[in-house]
Subunit: 439 residues, 2 copies
């Protein structure tokens, strides 16, 4: 006998067993349906690309985590570590074959050799959606509206999309003479939820002095409503500052559109939202579930000036966001929204043994042609084992077709949870009952 | 200005632009719905695994094509080159957490560094479905039934699933004393469609003599119907050969089930179907579209005795098939079934410029909440450019909301193909029209 190889996956990788995979599929299907309702179209790019394309700028933190190697043709290649870089390359390469504004979504796996001690996986799925080729409030608002509709479609309860505009913060910092320190100030502000107000003030104070730190903390404090907060933020900028005025108008326009579209309840202006990455140039946003704020933002993004500057001289401004799939999946679990139980087989045709498989398949086929998914147990086996399979697959009913039922021309349906059996006199009656039970 | 990196993908890899990706998605969604209606559940496994796991036996033709490398942790890893090997590892690892029979489907990418001159891609998607943990006619038949239902769901016209049983062929070869040459004989028979009857007879004759070659060619000639062909095949085996009798009974049982389930029109017994791979031990099958036989089999598979022998001592017999996605996609294209046009945005809200985006988004949101997918053009632009975008996205209608329409309280809908405009007096009327247009 040959030696057995121990079956195992690499550290940081995992299999998706049926329940986990079904939950992920259900989530993606619902998101996809929202994306499509707004005119977003799907694309796909290769998992493997030239290392030079993926790592362009190079030297960053991500660099060390990238899976890269030399292929059999001597090319330096790498597995993609996000969906943004391949999308930039994609747009630069195909913009002439496409149309602008281009709205795409992309749901696909990425790979990062991260430290697994933080509970991170080295293979995970990302879900990005963007509108490229327009710098407009309409496109900014569409991204916000997609997020709001996605939250509704997932039945994830109330949620808050916290929006801000990079330029308002920067113009304020410019007035107080701290624009050169904006990156580290934004980073400190970003920590406020984690380290608290006082500690944040100390951090900033050490850098720019207590007076300005007080002003910054006052700037990022939200007022009673959207309008009031926006007015306050604008008042912290210099009078006649055109860039600040444009930013204020953009935020106002986005709000007006979201209000008209009926989703203003989901939107709030939060001057403390900055997003760490420095490539955002306009609106930025994060999304928190009211019932589970602690899991962090489930969808974040913002506006960027140049998507594909590394690969083309063509200007491609855009706005987009990324869904935190793993967070959302945990959230749905915690909120008791069992995504995995969707689209199960509805009936197990039990194999009692005194009726042949031909008869079972005849009935199963009749059920399926009437829209009822049905699984035939392939061999006679103890009924307990068959019920156990049904239970593990969340199949709610078993059809107990035996010789006696065939002779009496009835279809006995077992409700596996209630442990009751009901007889139907024909397939149509049975189907009507099962259709009603679905709803 | 930094140097521009030329945007390009690796040789043998490709991007999926929206139409291609939508077509692939539509195909997968339809297949998935058929799989689920038979109780199949989805799983997923990592793209990257230990090279030892994936290449177990090693040394084969596939071996050279595998993308393998040493990761940053010094592990020998490889990208999966099919979905069968990871599934075998998966079953060996998780069988205790699962249930038997286990029906799974897996639709995912695989990678092979193949010679691209043959028009092959180095990254492509596979779609496998199997029933593991049972050696029964019922499971064999279920695979055939899934294929038949998939062909129907895809509206791919008439098709023929050609089935055979490895044991019948082998028992016949045993009787004529050629079992030891079965692999090369099966390989010659497999070429019959390509090289023709005479050439095949010559090939086999050179190996086993003309008399036996004649018998083999006579054996693989189908008779007028399923029953007659099966009878002929059995008559070529030795009398009282129990293995041959069991194989004959299995084929008959599968046929009876498929007949009862209403799909016998799709099934034919073809003694010349052998499948090249030697791990099949029972039924084998290939599927051909009647309207496009030249593209080859669009779904092939068979029964195997041991799925996971490399990784476990537990016996896991199974039956399954693999869908030829790229072939099916080409076929759908050739058969003028434009999968990409499904689930398009239905309406483009044109941006004429004298009505603000707020109003456009209000209407778009009203349409979406009534089930009509709608895209807002984000900025005022020449109407020709907006129509051009609609055309490229297959959006059939444009709503031309301008100041005059607002004042007259009408909703002017442009049929972009007919080039006619029709006015509706409220949203519900518009929605009714669009719903009717969908069907």
């Amino acid at each position: 006998m040959p030696e057995i190889i121990e079956p195992r996956v690499l550290k940081g990788f995992r299999d998706y067993l049926p329940d986990a995979e079904k939950a992920r599929n259900s989530l993606l299907t619902r998101l996809e349906s929202v994306f499509r309702s707004f005119g977003f179209v799907p694309i796909d790019t290769p998992a493997l690309e030239y290392a030079e394309i993926l790592l362009g700028k190079g030297g960053g933190e991500t660099d060390k985590q990238v899976y890269r190697f030399t292929d059999n043709g001597g090319r330096e290649v790498a597995l993609r570590f996000d969906l943004t870089v391949p999308f930039a390359r994609f747009m630069a390469e195909h913009v002439e074959e496409l149309y602008l504004p281009f709205r795409r979504y992309h749901m696909a796996k990425v790979w990062r050799g991260e430290n697994t001690q933080r509970g991170r996986y080295r293979e995970f799925m990302q879900c990005d959606f963007d509108i490229v080729g327009t710098d407009s409030a309409s496109a900014d608002a569409d991204i916000v509206l997609v997020i709001a509709e996605a939250i509704k479609a997932l039945d994830a309860g109330e949620a808050r999309i916290r929006i801000n505009h990079r330029a308002l913060f920067n113009r304020f910092l410019s007035r107080v003479g701290c624009l050169d320190k904006s990156v580290s100030i934004l980073r400190s502000v970003d920590k406020i939820a984690k380290i608290g107000m006082e500690k944040t003030k100390e951090l900033i104070g050490a850098e720019v002095g207590k007076g300005i730190a007080d002003e910054i903390l006052s700037f990022i404090e939200p007022e009673k409503d959207f309008e009031a907060t926006l007015g306050k933020m604008a008042s912290f900028c210099a009078r006649g500052d055109q860039e600040a005025d444009a930013a204020r108008k953009r935020i106002q326009d986005v709000y007006d559109i979201v209000l008209a579209a009926g989703s203003a309840d989901y939107l709030s202006l939060d001057p403390s939202i900055t997003r760490g990455l420095d490539y955002y140039t306009g609106v930025v946003f994060e999304t928190f579930l009211n019932d589970l704020p602690s899991i962090g933002s489930v969808c974040s993004g913002g506006r960027y000036n140049e998507l594909a500057g590394l690969y083309t001289t063509r200007s491609l401004p855009g706005v987009g966001a990324s869904v935190g799939l793993d967070r959302l999946l945990s959230a749905m679990e915690a909120l008791k929204r069992p995504l995995a139980r969707e689209s199960l087989p509805q009936v197990l045709l039990a194999n009692i043994g005194d009726v042949g498989e031909v008869e079972l398949h005849r009935v199963a086929s009749g059920l399926r042609s009437r829209g009822i998914s049905s699984e035939v147990f392939p061999e006679p086996k103890k009924i307990a084992a068959q019920y156990s399979l049904a239970q593990k697959k969340f199949i709610p009913y078993a059809l107990l077709l035996d010789r006696s039922a065939l002779e009496r021309r009835v279809l006995p349906l077992r409700d596996l949870e209630q442990r009751t059996t009901r007889e139907f006199s024909n397939l149509d009656e049975l189907v009507n009952f099962l259709e009603a039970a679905k709803a």
